[in-house]
């Protein structure tokens, strides 16, 4: 009888030890990674300009190109599917752990979605009480298991990304996602896209803006370029931007770049820019600067179309 109890107890202890040991090892590896969120939590970012947004922000800018365009260090914190609530946490954690940038560019199309990506970044919940609280606020049934198993905190696609960028030097240049084609446009239109402002998200964005201003960071809100097909079902820009502007403080400008690049070659699909489009955008920023943030490079005439 005692042998059996001892066996079960011993198994439990071994399992607990394996879980905690492997989780501690993974935590170190994830923080050491060159992936963007890892760099944030490791306090390794020293940028004048930080971009943040969802996948449209990811593909809007390759930070090496913007660094060359502005002659200032630029860091892209955008993440696929990033929602406004998680973005708020990441921005605040960024400001706590890294030197405050001069400007933060927030791509606002995450105001039109209702994703919730905080659980994807649970490998960092031990580093951030804010992030941990946001994840626990979801009250999903799996949340209590995060305390039972620390390995479970690394059950996220971000872990693989972090491990990959232990080897690769930087994730600041977006991966190629192909070229726009009639099939991709058709697939996009067949999904019946509808753009409605998520009313709960706007106050959160306003709070993020307040936090930035409190730290002397200039917020620059932009709506990144869309392919014209994105407006084929409905030209929703005017309605959506009017609603966003109405709900945000009056002194916050929203730069509408949605029609800045109407040609096919600039896009990988109706929502995301292609490398050539990014280069054109970076070239225009060279000329016009970013909000009140002038380029430190020699300037010429011109401005991004609105």
């Amino acid at each position: 009888m005692w042998k059996k109890i001892a066996f079960v107890a011993g198994f439990a202890v071994l399992l607990f030890a394996a879980d905690r040991t492997l989780a501690a090892l993974l935590s170190r590896l994830v923080l050491a990674s060159n992936a963007r969120v890892s760099a944030l939590y490791d306090g390794r970012v020293g940028a004048d300009v930080v971009l943040v947004g969802n996948s449209r922000g990811v593909h809007m800018a390759a930070s090496p190109e913007w660094t060359r365009a502005l002659c200032r260090p630029v860091f892209n914190l955008s993440l696929n599917g990033l929602d406004v609530a998680t973005q708020d946490v990441l921005v605040r954690d960024y400001l706590d752990r890294n030197p405050a940038p001069k400007a933060m560019v927030l791509e606002i199309s995450n105001l039109f979605s209702d994703t919730f990506m905080a659980p994807e970044y649970r490998p960092f919940m031990a580093e951030s009480d804010r992030l941990a609280a946001l994840i626990r606020s979801s009250r999903d049934t799996w949340v209590p298991w995060l305390d039972v198993s620390h390995l479970f905190r690394f059950n996220s696609e971000y872990l693989l990304r972090a491990l990959l960028f232990l080897i690769r030097p930087s994730d600041q240049t977006p991966e190629a996602i192909g070229e726009i084609s009639p099939a991709r446009i058709e697939a996009y239109l067949a999904a019946h896209p509808r753009y409605r402002v998520n009313a709960e998200a706007v106050p959160v964005l306003a709070s993020t803006i307040d936090a930035l201003k409190a730290r002397g960071v200039e917020p620059v809100l932009v709506l990144a370029p869309y392919h014209p097909a994105a407006f084929r079902v409905e030209d929703w820009r005017g309605r959506a931007l009017a609603e966003v502007r109405r709900r945000l403080p009056a002194d916050v400008a929203v730069h509408d770049w949605s029609l800045a690049l109407p040609d096919d070659a600039s896009f990988a699909d109706p929502l995301h820019m292609a490398p050539s489009g990014r280069r054109i955008l970076a070239g225009r920023i060279t000329v016009s600067g970013l909000g009140d943030l002038a380029s430190l490079c020699p300037a010429t005439v011109g401005r991004v179309s609105e």
Binding site: K4, A18, L22, T141, F152, N155, E157, I177, A187
Partner: protein, 474 residues
């Protein structure tokens, strides 16, 4: 309720806490009640059908038992089989044939529309119908005696670990086990838990991590390049194995903890070097059932070659139809029938090459394994695709879609999937070696290490969104 859900954990905890303290009769009745609760969790209406089927087959078995191996017994058996198949056919194949009939009438210019009656498919009906059929047939054949205790028979039909997706356990194997009280056994608990852990790993890690890739590829093959589609098709072969083998292991493990031995349902099928061997390793309980209750009664291989081929083909065709009411399942079954026929036709070539020595034998076996794997995975495309047109589109895209890895979508998921498949193949290749397999079984430290490793992998990579098991739809 599904195994990978919180409510099941609660169900199992309560069940096992009470099960082992009860004397025989209450233990049996608890198992029966728990089985109906388990089943009713899907849809309480299903319970009426399984109860009616149980009552009918209990009575049929009793009556047939008085007339086994006689002409009257044959008529009674025929009636019982017909009723069981009619019920299965009605619930499972009504829409399949109705849709085809309506389409035919429309093609002939006669306006017809499908009935507004929507038939809900009771979960697990294919499995418990086959249990019932094997029971009445074995009674007729004199292999078993009718079970006099309705509670024992009802528990055999509804036993919760294997109710909704097998394994298909013969009455001769399970009913005797239900007639004695089961006491707690620590070694059985360990073995059962080991099987459950491996099962959850196969389902929640292997199958559920491959599923997003296969689902997206099969939903729209033309949106992916050829390499991506090929990856999706290969991933499905491992997804369905992880899903189904995983479920079977969980069911067998839970039953083992209860003190019941359900046998084995999978034995490393992708290491088969022939199609007949594949069917001795994949869904063993179903292939055995089809062999004993369909192939052999049709004549098996006792007649001419042509008759054997016909029997093989018909058995596999019906085996495909058992899986579901769609032409793709029939195509899948037909393909496997064709493979078995081709194997028989090419057997002389195998013998000729094998006779040339050990090296030649190894070479031909290696080629055969590769050939079987390729053919089986090609057939899975029909199994998974929503239609035969979709299946052909998958093949067409594989051929003409281009093989640029840079254009493969969701690379992280693809790389993770490849890693998991590599791990699975390596583990099974090791288990294929008898010396290593037996050595592992004897080494407690190795088994503990494996269990801890799998639990850690489950925590790290498991998908716990409560996804359904693929074979629940059959």
């Amino acid at each position: 309720m599904i195994f990978n859900s919180e409510v099941f954990i609660l169900f199992a905890a309560i069940f096992f806490a009470v099960y082992f303290v009860l004397p025989y009769r209450p233990q049996l009745l608890l198992t029966l009640a728990a089985s109906y609760v388990f089943y009713a969790w899907w849809d309480w209406r299903f319970c009426a059908l399984i109860a009616a089927s149980t009552a009918f087959n209990f009575a049929a078995g009793t009556v047939i038992g008085r007339h086994s191996l006689s002409r009257a017994g044959r008529w009674l058996l025929g009636t019982a089989v017909a009723v069981n198949l009619a019920v299965l056919g009605f619930f499972k194949y009504f829409h399949f044939f109705a849709d085809g009939f309506v389409a035919l009438l429309n093609d002939l210019g006669l306006q017809a529309s499908e009935s507004t009656l929507r038939i809900i498919l009771p979960i697990g009906i294919s499995f418990y119908t086959f249990h019932s059929l094997s029971y009445v047939i074995d009674i007729y054949r004199g292999r078993i005696r009718p079970e006099p205790d309705p509670a024992v028979f009802a528990t055999y039909i509804a036993l919760w670990p294997q109710l909704v997706a097998g394994p298909i356990v013969r009455a001769s194997r399970l009913i005797p086990q239900l007639k004695t009280r089961k006491s707690f056994s620590f070694p059985r608990l360990l073995v059962g838990c080991e099987l459950v852990i491996v099962g959850f790993f196969l389902k929640c890690v292997v199958a559920d991590r491959l599923a997003p890739i296969t689902d997206s590829v099969f939903a729209a093959p033309s949106a992916f390049n050829g390499l991506n589609v090929l990856i999706g098709a290969i991933f499905f072969g491992f997804q369905i194995y992880g899903d189904f083998c995983g479920y079977s292991l969980i069911a067998i493990g839970l039953a083992r903890i209860m003190g019941l031995n359900l046998g084995r349902n999978f034995r490393r099928p992708y290491f088969a070097s022939s199609f007949s061997e594949f069917w001795q390793r994949w869904h063993i309980s179903l292939s055995g059932w089809l062999r004993d209750y369909l192939y052999v009664p049709l004549g098996g291989n006792r007649g001419s070659k042509l008759a054997t081929f016909r029997n093989l083909f018909a058995t596999m065709l019906l085996g495909g139809l058992w899986h579901g009411a769609a032409w793709t399942f029939v195509l899948w079954g037909g393909l496997h029938g064709l493979y078995l026929v081709l194997q028989r036709l090419l057997a002389p070539v195998h013998d000729l090459v094998s006779a040339r020595g050990a090296l030649a034998r190894r070479g031909i076996v290696g080629l055969e394994m590769a050939g079987v794997l390729t053919a089986v995975f090609a057939a899975w495309v029909f199994f998974r695709a929503g239609s035969s047109e979709a299946a052909w589109l998958v093949f067409a895209q594989m051929v003409s879609g281009g093989y640029d890895f840079a254009a493969v979508q969701n690379k992280f998921q693809v790389v993770m999937g490849m890693g998991l498949i590599g791990l699975l193949v390596a583990a099974e290749a090791t288990a294929e070696q008898p010396a290593l397999r037996n050595g592992f079984r004897r080494a407690r430290a190795a088994r503990v290490t494996m269990a801890i490793s799998l639990l850690c992998l489950l925590a790290l990579f498991g998908n716990f969104t409560g996804s359904q098991f693929i074979y629940f739809q059959f």
